[in-house]
């Protein structure tokens, strides 16, 4: 791959696309948004697409024959096509709209898990899963007697391939794993994990909530069977996400919720199930949000995922370097080559909540807590960490501001 040059003017141009970045959080304190891993900011193009939808085309989709219903349906389905193309799915029917990545995983647990798993069957997860790729399986385990095993994280904060190979010998039915940890930033070798899982007879689910927004994911190259992701972490609105599934896998799954749109025909006592993806989309969906999701994907394509990845690597490397000069700061995660734009750290003697609160007084938004990955924090014996995360609109100057404020925090508590 050609090295990608990141210029200041490119970043400035991108920043102008995000109206919120202009805002002051406190008098004289402009927003420094370092919390995109929790939720990304929205470009004008996304806001406008949703606004225009409500101003011009708002109607319910699919069965209407009037102009607005036709327009709304076309916008909703065009967005689906764009999302499918963004991850290189074979067809738009392989994209199921959900509320978010969490719902997508729950959908799989419900519609695939309850149909195909029995007592004693094994699901492989990892130690660094977000609660959303943990609790749905715990529920299933309690209900069905399904077993859960966990691929450990190595001392270098990486996916433990050797342990994984050993666990595969137990014959799991499903391997469900994060493509990028939302705490450590660890990028897992997804293609190899999928290949080995298939060789062991398992199907695969990727939690792509962090990787799809930041890495650019090609589901056909990975050969993954199912993948969950959320719009709001990739410059789209909240309230919509997607489940990607290979056609054959989705077709084999049971329906999810019952209601309108997921049926072909209903009598008083029975129904026939609609084709994919509609069989998983009961009820009026988040139409404007889907339109915004499509606009977000278009926007990211315009910037280019390789550029975004290169920019984030640059900024993350810079952040790791600058944080290392701070006294008492420990960073949790692998080296920058194996890492997304996520930096979780602790500062000796200062609670993460106090750090986050003090940074906020300088306009800097970071997250403090367990980041919905309590087991991972338990592994490192940490009640909480502070997390700064980066996206296409962040700058090295913002990292400098973060470090300056952290110096002040240290001084206040030191």
């Amino acid at each position: 791959m050609q090295p990608i040059a990141i210029t200041k003017s490119e970043i400035e141009k991108i920043r102008k696309d995000f109206p919120i970045l202009e805002r002051e959080v406190h008098p004289g304190k402009k927003l420094v948004y370092l919390d995109s891993t929790a939720s990304a900011q929205k470009p004008e193009a996304v806001i406008r697409a949703m606004d225009e939808y409500y101003r011009r085309s708002n109607a319910n989709i699919h069965r209407g024959v009037h102009t607005l219903a036709e327009e709304a349906t076309a916008l909703y389905e065009n967005a689906r096509s764009r999302i499918a193309a963004f991850i290189n799915a074979a067809s738009p029917e392989e994209i199921v709209y959900t509320r978010n990545a969490t719902e997508a995983i729950n959908l799989v647990a419900y519609s695939w898990g309850r149909k195909f798993l029995q007592a004693g069957d094994l699901i492989l997860l990892t130690e660094m899963e977000h609660h959303s790729n943990l609790v749905p399986w715990q529920i299933l385990a309690a209900e069905r007697g399904v077993r859960l095993e966990f691929v450990p994280v190595t001392d270098g904060f990486l996916f433990d391939m050797d342990a994984y190979r050993a666990l595969l010998e137990q014959g799991p039915k499903l391997v469900a794993f994060t493509h990028m940890s939302n705490v450590l930033g660890t990028i897992t070798p997804a293609k190899e994990i999928v290949r080995l899982a298939h060789a062991a007879g398992a199907i695969t689910l990727i939690d792509g909530a962090q990787s799809v927004p930041h890495l650019g994911v090609d589901v056909r190259d990975l050969d993954v069977d199912l993948m969950a992701f959320s719009a709001h972490k990739m410059c789209g609105p909240t309230g919509v996400g997607a489940l990607y599934g290979k056609r054959a896998v989705l077709e084999a799954m049971a329906p999810f919720m019952g209601g309108g749109d997921m049926i072909k025909k209903v009598t008083l006592r029975s129904f026939t199930v609609n084709d994919i993806p509609y069989k998983f989309e009961a009820g009026t969906p988040a139409i404007a949000e889907a339109v915004g999701f499509g606009a977000a994907v278009e926007y990211l394509n315009g910037v280019g995922m390789p550029w975004i990845r290169a920019h984030e690597q640059h900024i993350t490397a810079y952040a790791l370097d600058r944080l290392s000069e701070l006294p008492g700061v420990a960073v949790f995660g692998p080296d920058v080559q194996h890492k997304g734009g996520v930096v979780a750290f602790t500062m000796q003697g200062v609670h993460p909540h106090d750090i986050a609160q003090l940074l906020d007084s300088d306009g800097i938004a970071v997250r403090a807590g367990h980041h919905c990955a309590m087991p991972l924090h338990q592994k490192y014996n940490l009640p909480a960490t502070t997390r700064a995360s980066f996206y296409l609109y962040n700058t090295t100057e913002e990292v400098d501001q973060l470090v300056t404020s952290l110096h002040k925090v240290y001084k206040l508590f030191g």
């Binding site: 200062v350 609670h351 993460p352 909540h353 106090d354 609160q357 003090l358 906020d360 007084s361 300088d362 403090a368 807590g369 367990h370 924090h377 009640p383 909480a384 404020s405 002040k408 925090v409 206040l412 508590f413």
Partner: protein, 132 residues
């Protein structure tokens, strides 16, 4: 840097005066704020009239939760159990001398929740104990 971190809060966080555990004790209770993992245990010694003679807290948490625990225990020495039952949110805010948003309020109120659950002899601390 921030008005929230008044000198007294930083000072109490760094050098608490009521940190520790009492053994034996008359009342002991512990609980945590699952949001941030803050954990507080409070031990009390109470005389025959029902007045607090000694108090100590242990556990871990942010500056707001630790300082409010320290200030709270200082304020209850010599108080009757029935008076402790009357303490509420505003008393904590008065002790800290700051106003808090909903998220940090939970940090500040953790120690009061634990203390009241202890004096009521309840099995579980609840938010209802610190309202009003």
């Amino acid at each position: 840097m921030d008005d929230l971190y008044r000198e007294i809060i930083i000072e109490r966080y760094k050098s608490p005066q009521y940190r520790g555990q009492l053994d034996p004790h008359d009342i002991s209770f512990e609980d945590e704020n699952p949001l941030c993992g803050d954990h507080i245990r409070i031990d009390l010694r109470v005389d025959e009239q029902g007045r607090v003679t000694e108090a100590a807290f242990s556990g871990h948490g942010c500056a707001i939760s630790q300082a409010s625990a320290d200030l709270l225990l200082e304020s209850v020495i010599g108080k009757h159990i029935d008076e402790i039952k009357q303490l509420n949110k505003q008393d904590i805010l008065d002790l800290l001398g700051i106003d808090l948003g909903p998220v940090r309020l939970k940090c500040a109120l953790l120690s009061l929740k634990v203390l009241k659950a202890g004096v009521y002899g309840l099995g579980e601390a609840s938010d209802a104990l610190v309202e009003g």
